[in-house]
Symmetry: C2
Subunit: 337 residues, 2 copies
DNA sequence: GCTAAAATATGAAGCGCTTCATATGAAGCG
DNA sequence: CGCTTCATATGAAGCGCTTCATATTTTAGC
């Protein structure tokens, strides 16, 4: 692999001149003739810069890191995709890390990993929801190089969050307007907490309408199969809900199939609402009504926030909470085939 | 950020000693006392190695690159996921690149990018299928650091391929055995070529059975929506197929919905078969029969091949073609609800 | 008590690049 | 013609680490 020194030797000039030419340094005046000679030599040798060396010398890597759950979940896949595009069009590279909700690949480990890989900054999707805001577990020097995605923070770190409570609140209101009185809420067991914003939003809407508590239905995880499994017990649910809000779309999609197997029709026997707004729901046989997170906007803003920081364009806190929107399709019964 | 030199200063020893201790170099004997002193100093300073510098000095990055289409396609997401796990458990990091089938982010650009990031080796999913085998567009020195994923190669590069023809051949045989005489094949327009293995497999099975050519139905892409759009014309298909094989599962899933909207029932009016074996198909209302690619095995082998190469454990060609398996569910009509 | 070997620790070179202070010539000026 | 200017090009230091030949000290062997 040819190095700068090889090119310099071949062109018969100094290393630093080659560097100046190949980087198009504006202040450095190099005669056209020398420039051509260098370019030619580089071309002939098939010279390619070594980014490691460059990054080491420059003190930056032009790389941003992203930490998310897992890429097999379409929701995260889409986030990763949007983030990557935004990062790339801003002239950076993306380094992707998944934490799989696994202690071994925890946030901390990932952040450290990214950080020591010397990414210039990072976006992190918090792996657990702390009701009072996420704390970024990082050395002080790394603060100001992190934007939290999807959650708000307790320590002043920049974030682009999503108002989950408002999302489920609106979904619930909509179901109430359709005449539902008894709701069900299907979520991973550990997220069935009253202080979890998704549930909180439902509770608020119900209590404002003077309606009873929702039936809480636990799932073993947040994938299709978990929703499916949970829905197999639908005939035993007491009190019998007429509408079911799900923690996310995957759960809703799985539940849909389980409900069908139990002979329950969506939306006639049970209205169904998901959360996230992934494309999959649109192609459910009865297209899924869902609380859609503005993934594209969220990703772009987060990248923008991070770059603002890195390039010193702001020293203010950058914190925003986006409101998801209710996308009404057929599964909630508001719209007929 | 503390450096080795800082630690050395604090512990009152030479830089090289610190390096030896922190890397646990086995041949270097350091007294227990010195070791403790160094460890303590490192701890106190919160020392973390700079991977850039280390990689530069060592001449390797302990990082492998993966080039795939896009992460929003569950098939690729799963591949990325499996590859990442395999790479990680082999002690490497993964650098992911997507090419989105976009000339701007072409294979070549990606490979170069990865290569100049000085990944130790890379896995590449070829972005276009050349019937006579994929040629990896790379400088010679980089050969032997590449494993092609999903396709076979013409230039001797290692690969883990998939016998697509055999997959569709078996699917077609199965449909024939179920009594179907007229098949349809739905694929992205550019893949509706007789020399494309997926179509070739179908043709072979049909011709062996003395059956007529399949109806070729073009889609505008390889996503759900493309299958959906294509299926909206189902009532006009001539000759009218009784079974439809799709290029991939996403297309099949989209087609399913389009067929339903056209009042066609799967499998009664039309048997449906997909390709890939992604989880989504399992949760289609009429679970999707599909030709399942052994994604996990494929990913693991590819990573293994690459690591064999990198660690010099082999100089032989490593080339294998995996046979996908037909997963029979309800959409082909062989199995009742 | 002297030498050889083992146990420890060190310094310097080098990985490939950037950057900046400095050198070299050629014009330009009075 | 000696002086400054400007246009070009250079050399050396440094980024943080690894590595290896070498130095120093200790221990063992006889």
């Amino acid at each position: 692999m040819a190095t700068l020194a090889d090119v310099a030797r071949r062109a018969g000039v100094a290393l630093s001149t080659v560097s100046a030419v190949l980087n198009n340094r504006p202040d450095c005046f190099v005669s056209e003739e020398t420039r051509q000679r260098i370019l030619k030599a580089a071309e002939e040798l098939g010279y390619r810069p070594n980014y490691l060396a460059r990054s080491l010398a420059r003190g930056k890597t032009e790389t941003l890191g992203l930490v998310i759950y897992e890429v097999t979940n379409p929701y995260f896949a889409q986030i990763a995709d949007e983030v990557e595009q935004a990062v790339r069009s801003a002239g950076y590279q993306l380094l992707l890390c998944t934490n799989r909700d696994d202690p071994e690949f925890s946030d901390r480990a990932n952040l450290e990993l990214l950080y020591h890989r010397r990414v210039d900054g990072m976006l992190v999707w918090a792996s657990r929801y702390p009701p009072d805001g996420y704390l970024v577990p990082l050395p002080d020097e790394a603060k100001g190089k992190v934007v939290v995605l999807g959650y708000h923070t307790a320590d002043g770190t920049d974030y682009v969050s999503v108002d989950r409570a408002e999302g489920t609140y609106r979904a619930t209101q909509h179901l109430i307007a359709l005449g539902h009185r008894q709701l069900g809420y299907l979520a991973p067991r550990e997220d069935l907490r009253r202080d979890h914003p998704k549930l909180a939003g439902i509770l608020r809407a119900l209590s404002e309408a003077g309606l009873p508590q929702p039936l809480l239905i636990p799932a073993d995880g947040h994938f299709r199969r978990d929703g499916y499994q949970a829905a197999l017990t639908a005939r035993e649910w007491q009190p019998r809900p007429t509408a079911l809000i799900c923690y996310n779309d995957l759960l809703a999609i799985g539940a849909y199939r389980g409900l069908r197997e139990q002979g329950l029709k969506v939306p006639d026997d049970l209205a169904l609402v998901g959360f996230d707004g992934i494309e999959d729901g649109e192609f459910l046989e009865v297209p899924l009504t869902t609380v859609a997170v503005p993934i594209c906007e969220m990703s772009q803003m987060a990248v923008q926030f991070l770059i603002n920081r890195l390039e010193g364009r702001t020293t203010e806190r950058q914190q925003i909470t986006l409101i998801p929107s209710l996308v009404i399709r057929r599964s909630c019964g508001a719209q007929r085939a």
